[in-house]
């Protein structure tokens, strides 16, 4: 009777294993190449190069800017077309994609948003489209691989996009009292708990601004106000301390002119804890239009305050 040789069996298993590992490796390489190839193919097939006129005014920001700036009014006052990429929950990746589409020598109004810097990246909208350079930028700023994959996932179907649009949108209507879409404790945690993502968001945001400076844009950074209920605990919070430091660095580094716009009104200018209503937006828009008309050279950091 023939007895199986245990050594032979072991060798054949090793052969099986090495064959399996080789095939898996080849499959992984092939699939990786295929995925990258298809992504690039779709990227180039679907992305229409959009060129904007440098005479336009470009706007980026999250919901603060979206609800705080009346695009039509600003356009009328400036006699220029206003193109906006502002939107609810807009994240730093969105900012990088938007700034990439801004032409040289343009006027750019950019939000300095504490909420966008402190907010969990999972809540960021970040759907401005797939841009390898911008993804690389956030990754090199310290964004986690998981978050980069998430951004990739969010944008994998939006190769065809328009970063900016001039479509008007509804502003928050005036009301006698505030509405509370988010509970106050949420704002507590936003300001008072240190955020792991703050450093990379700040770094990527600064890089985005640097790119705009490299394009010789006139930059107007705008910080919108919070309601006093949020401001009461935010002013001494850790994240306010960090954002103030970033603000100082930006003002010094880029020689920004600091200015505060104080909005006076007998009626309520806020819609909720973090967004202005249509009255507040109108007042602010008139102020910023005046600044942009009177000074076409200097870069500004404008802090909006309500009295």
């Amino acid at each position: 009777m023939k007895v199986a040789n245990p050594l032979r069996l072991s060798i054949s298993n090793s052969d099986d294993m090495s064959k399996f590992l080789k095939r898996i490796l080849i499959a992984m390489l092939l699939f990786s190449a295929l995925i990258v190839g298809v992504c690039f193919l779709l990227h180039f097939l679907r992305q229409k190069p959009v060129t904007y006129d440098s005479e336009c005014v470009f706007v980026w920001g999250d919901s603060g800017m979206y609800q705080g700036l009346d695009l039509k009014l600003l356009g009328d006052k400036m006699g220029k077309q206003i193109l906006s990429a502002a939107g609810h929950g807009s994240g730093i990746y969105d900012f990088l994609v938007s700034q990439k589409n801004i032409p040289d020598n343009a006027v750019t109004v950019v939000s300095f948003s504490e909420a966008a810097l402190c907010r969990n990246p999972l809540s960021d909208y970040n759907r401005k489209g797939f841009e390898i350079d911008c993804l690389k930028e956030v990754f090199l700023s310290g964004c986690s691989v998981n978050e980069c994959i998430r951004i990739l996932n969010l944008n994998k179907k939006s190769f065809r996009y328009m970063a900016f649009s001039n479509l008007p949108h509804t502003m928050y209507p005036f009301a006698d009292s505030l509405v509370y879409p988010e509970p106050l404790p949420l704002w507590h945690s936003l300001f008072e708990e240190p955020k792991d993502w703050f450093p990379w968001k700040a770094k990527a945001y600064t890089k985005g601004l640097q790119h705009l400076f490299d394009k010789h844009s006139q930059i107007i950074l705008v910080q919108f106000p919070f309601d006093e209920q949020v401001e009461s605990f935010a002013k001494n919070s850790i994240n306010r301390h960090l954002s103030d430091s970033l603000k100082r660095v930006l003002i010094d580094e880029y020689a920004l002119k600091y200015d505060s716009v104080v909005l006076h009104s007998d009626s309520l200018l806020m819609h909720d804890l973090s967004h202005m209503n249509e009255v507040g937006a109108r007042l602010f828009t008139l102020e910023i239009a005046e600044i942009l008309r009177s000074d076409t050279v200097n870069n500004y950091f404008i802090e909006v305050m309500i009295q």
């Binding site: 298993n13 099986d16 294993m17 699939f31 995925i35 994998k156 179907k157």
Partner: protein, 481 residues
Amino acid sequence: MVFNSIPFVLFFVVVFFVYWLLLKKSTKTQNIFLLVASYFFYGYANWKMLPLLIVATAVFYFLGIGISQSESEKKASILRALGVVLGVGILLYFKYLNFFIESFANLFESMGLHTNWHTFNIIMPLGVSFFTFRLISYVIDVYNGEVEPTRDVVEFATYIAFFPCILSGPIDKPKFISQLHQKREFNYNQAVDGMRQILWGLFKKLVVADNCAVYVDQVFSSHTDQSGSTLLLAAIFCSFQVYADFSGYSDMAIGVGKLLGFSITRNFNNPFFALNVADFWRRWHMSLTSWITDYVFTPLSFQFRRWGKVGMIIAIIINMVVVGLWHGANWTFVVFGLYHGLLFVPLVLSGAFMKKDRLSTNKIGLPVLKDLGRMLLTFALVVFGVVIFRAENIGQAWEYVCGMCNRSIFTVPWLINREYYIPTFVSVLLLLLTEWVSRAKQHGLSVENCSVVFRWIFYSVIVILIVYEGGQPAPFVYFQF
């Protein structure tokens, strides 16, 4: 740590290489390593639940030995009963206690009796419904002489905690322990088949289930504002979502098992091609239905055998209510089980219950008209049941069904947008088509007999769909059970 996550990939790569390259000479060492890996996997989700698993495993291990060493039948029977009570007790305490307290309190309130009962702050251990069923079946099978009690505590503990199956099954019977006892050799064909099955599971979960989930979640959360046709489409998508989600997980678990040299029980056999409801349950969550059939239905039908068909119907309805309740502590699951139990009644009365019909196909390989009709009818009944299954409460299920059954069912459904519905419909069709073609095989991607070129083109299409059309990752539906 879910299968479709980076931590799991890293974990499994380490397990695979240590298991096959460093420990291949000793089965015992491989088992010890598998046990440690399984406890790490389980503890990674919530380490606080690990002691419960370890203590329960130890108790049932000794119960098994106790049963086999009992000198009298009575003593063995007492130990078996103790095991069943303990297993069911764990399940009742962690999963159903609050449900029963709430239900009784509500019942008394409705009768005008005020109770001061409070629910407990109990965290349900992950996979409790799966590992308790393994524990219970072990003591029963040892008592019945179906398996020899193992003296190797590592083998037993690995069977209970085996990481591919502990969170969502399949629920292997105790005969699985014999695989842990045998020497395992790395087999190229088995490993490749495992990889294929994992790929197919990923497609089902990430492309079909997660894309369907987007629509289903939106429609179910706003069902009162939707048209009948939208509600119907969401119910159909929900059926595909639950199937693709759970069978996708099972495929990945079985694939991982194959990579480690194990043969894990099959859990789904193309349930949407079932010709009647009995056939559907023979194909859906097969490891659970097989467990319930062995340990609940068979003893019950034996008890009720004197009552003929009526006894059979009662046994089936109890059986299906247990199946429903197993899914969760909610009256919707009880009604879901009851609904499916009632669907068996015409089958029992007509004698079609035990008959295993074979699907007939025409010359081009499609089902003949009669069988297609039966398949569609079964599918429609299943879709209706899924509404009860998915609803948060009976009221919502009722509203949903009423919303579906009106004239608006003939309108064009809301479809989110073109970017959404085209890939979702295509992926569902691809799932059905692939499973139809490979219905006689173990899984959809059993393409070992096809040409190399076809195989690789098919793999590439699946990979591209997973990467490019995969929805936003959602948690596995069956993790909650």
